[in-house]
């Protein structure tokens, strides 16, 4: 059989682009977001007292109900948009773009923590422990920030490094236990989250971490020399964004250009094959959790030094769990994680405006966020809803099992 099969015409870049846009991951992600926002709108509308009232006399004036539904959903999502991207009511261009700055501020810790989860995914580990790693990162950075006085530039470096190390050690413990004993990392990281939470709660009760003469569980404010620089006046965007973007760049280099990243991915694809090839699976687990934990620690440090400026027991908020959804939406690639972090940062930023303007509780973000991830995880469902041929070209977390 020397005869070559008729060569298939190579699709041009343009054709591939269009195909990807209409049937690939982009389309799937887009449709998932639309679907999640739609369901969120249903929730907003159904629970709106104005709509319920109009629904009470539906048969006499049905138009009222439709108007109320439109008003309810459009005002909420309108406020969300103007609170996260562009505010058209502002007088100057700078003011109009302030909401976008808010989005970037919210996105900063999400990107860092998302990288923590994404890196672990690539080595086949489920890092549920970003929450604890963020707490440890913020705690260590905070301690350096409010205890020692140093020259500004140096202080920031030391505090950020302390934050990185705090998260890295916390993540590394989970990786090490997994490597040495085979204990499931999900259980270990969940437990470490609770331990970190209690540890911070304890630290805030001791003298070292509290303000003199104050009973409230909050730490002193970090020195100004260590507060992250805010380049845009009037906006909360801080230089921490640059740090997490650098971290994302490093993650990309690590995964696609370095030997260590190659090992991570090999272990993630098939630990047995990796062992046969002479890769130490255990060492890779420890290393990836150490580096990943460090990314979450960095996120915690940036959040503390850039936004909060002092420790409370709620310093990490929901960040650690948001991070999981960020990594999943970003399909555990560094670039995707940055994009997903921006999207969820926008949701958060928009939701605060929405809550202020329309009394729609901010928690709608959690609903939309989790629905997006559920939908992108199950392409057949999205296909069935939109009757489209959408397919996933890359699973959301292929290395940790499950089809899709």
């Amino acid at each position: 059989m020397t005869e070559q099969p008729p060569a298939q015409a190579e699709p041009t870049v343009g054709q591939r682009f269009v195909k990807e846009l209409t049937t690939g991951n982009t389309a799937l992600t887009f449709l998932s977001i639309v679907l999640a926002l739609l369901i969120g709108a249903v929730l907003i509308v159904v629970s709106d007292p104005a709509v319920q009232e109009a629904g009470g006399y539906f048969f006499s004036r049905p138009v009222d109900l439709i108007a109320a539904i439109w008003e309810s959903a459009s005002s909420a999502y309108g406020a969300m948009f103007s609170g996260s991207v562009i505010n058209f009511d502002a007088y100057t261009v700078g003011d109009a773009l302030l909401p976008f700055g808010k989005t970037l501020t919210f996105a900063t810790p999400l990107i860092g923590a998302g990288l923590a989860v994404a890196l672990a995914f690539r080595a086949g580990l489920l890092n549920i422990g970003a929450q604890g790693q963020i707490i440890m990162g913020a705690t260590c950075a905070g301690y350096v920030g409010f205890t020692y006085e140093m020259p500004a530039f140096f202080h920031v470096i030391v505090a950020i490094a302390a934050g990185f190390l705090g998260g890295a050690v916390w993540g590394g413990i989970a990786g090490f236990i997994k490597a040495r004993t085979g204990a499931h990392e999900v259980i270990v990281t969940i437990m470490l989250n609770h331990i970190a939470r209690l540890l911070l709660a304890y630290l805030l009760t001791i003298e070292l971490f509290s303000r003199p003469g104050e009973a409230l569980p909050r730490s002193p404010v970090v020195f100004e020399s260590v507060q992250l620089w805010r380049p845009v006046a009037g906006s909360t965007v801080h230089i921490g964004l640059l740090f997490v973007l650098l971290a994302a760049g490093y993650s990309w280099w690590l995964l696609s250009r370095s030997t260590m990243g190659f090992r991570f991915r090999a272990v993630g694809h098939n630990p047995n094959a990796a062992t046969t090839a002479g890769i130490s699976v255990g060492r890779s687990y420890t290393a990836v959790m150490f580096i990943g934990g460090g990314m979450a620690g960095l996120a915690g440090a940036a959040h503390l030094l850039g936004t909060e400026h002092y420790l409370t027991d709620g310093i990490a908020g929901q960040l650690g769990f948001d991070a999981i959804t960020v990594a999943l939406l970003g399909r555990s690639s560094p670039v995707g994680t940055v994009a997903a972090g921006l999207l969820f940062g926008a949701l958060r930023a928009g939701a605060t405006t929405m809550a202020a303007q329309t009394q729609t509780p901010i928690d709608i973000v959690l609903v939309v966020q989790s629905l997006i991830v559920l939908f992108i995880a199950a392409p057949p469902l999205v296909r069935a809803v939109f009757r489209l041929k959408v397919r996933s070209t890359r699973a959301i977390a292929p290395e940790v099992g499950g089809r899709v």
Partner: protein, 430 residues
Amino acid sequence: MTAPTVDTVVVEPETEQARVLARSWGPSVAFGVFGLVALVFFGILPPNGRETRFGLSTASDAFRFDPIGVPSKIAAIALAIVCLGIAVYAAVLTSRPRRVPLWLPITFGIAFVMSFLSWAVAGNTLSLPVVLKGTIALAVPYIFGALCGMLGERTGVINIAIDGQLLAGAFLSGVVASLASNLWIGLIAAPVAGVLVAWLLAVFSIKYVVNQIIVGVVLNVLVYGVTNFLYGRLLGPMKDTWNAPGKFAEYHVPLLSDIPVAGPVLFKQTVVVYLMYLAVVLVHIALFRTRWGLRVRAVGEHPEAADTAGIRVNVVRFRNVLLGGAVAGLGGAYFTLGSSGVFSKEMTAGAGFIALAAMIMGRWTPVGAVFAALLFGFADNLQSMLGIMRFGIPSELMQMAPYLLTIFAVAGLVGRIRPPASNGQPYIKS
């Protein structure tokens, strides 16, 4: 061709059995270390001559007793010696080699806790009924949650969404009871909420084969989001309509509640707690004494074999996840209808994760999970008892105990813990 002879058959050192036996020195060592800790820190080091009094009844009990006073040091030492005895017995069993039965760690835990109390309460009176009742109150949702997790994991489906199912149950039971002004209708609604969440878990993890842990984590976030949102919209602003369910009164079981100490603790409870007793017994019997349970465990241990034997693996899994959801939802009702009488935001406070830990510590058995949950409930409860115990361990650090213990347990330091073999693996029929 030569027939295989007896001496070519080599016992492979890496068989599952060999590995389990090789690892199982853990419990004896751990018992020994903890026993020594008890002996030295609770018994030998503290000063002599103090008395620990245990109150055995409260003012409302049928039979009232005077508090029993025991010399703190002697009691602590005696109980520590019991602990060490158990450690030795475990070591003997291991050297036979035989399995360490479940009652051994349970007895050890009770002896260790009593030794600890003899020391910590020295010079004071500790009311046992109050302590035990507080412990049970905290353990109830853990037990329900652990049963939920167990029903799923015994078929190979990991359920990280226990917390979400508990919260959903708490929410819906509170809202329905409030709207209907009837606690019983609310109680019926609770499992429905749990089943709804479980249904999502089942659909996504079994039908769409999404990673079970990911689905679980995301579902938790979804339930937090929905309940917080509706709380902000309806339950908070319109409290009287939406969030005034009230709670069940305690029902005193005739005769049984008059038993000294145990009676008031176990049988002066709300209906939700009695349902918990029932659930534990039913799940235990169903899992280990019925054909249904054998099938369930077969699916969890070896789905391919179960399939070959004619069991529809994914149907069994789907049903069990739903059943687990119903149990967890019912447990959620305890938060609203059983203890606080109102719903508040994220009121489960991570109970579902402690339930997961209790299930692991209890080695995927109902009885083991109950005692693990009680131990965790006891550690939580210590915070409220700190007033009478003047010792220098901050409550936050005490509360870490369950989490640390769980890490030790899954790391194999406290005995080899083995989950069902197919845990977390989707079953795709080829």
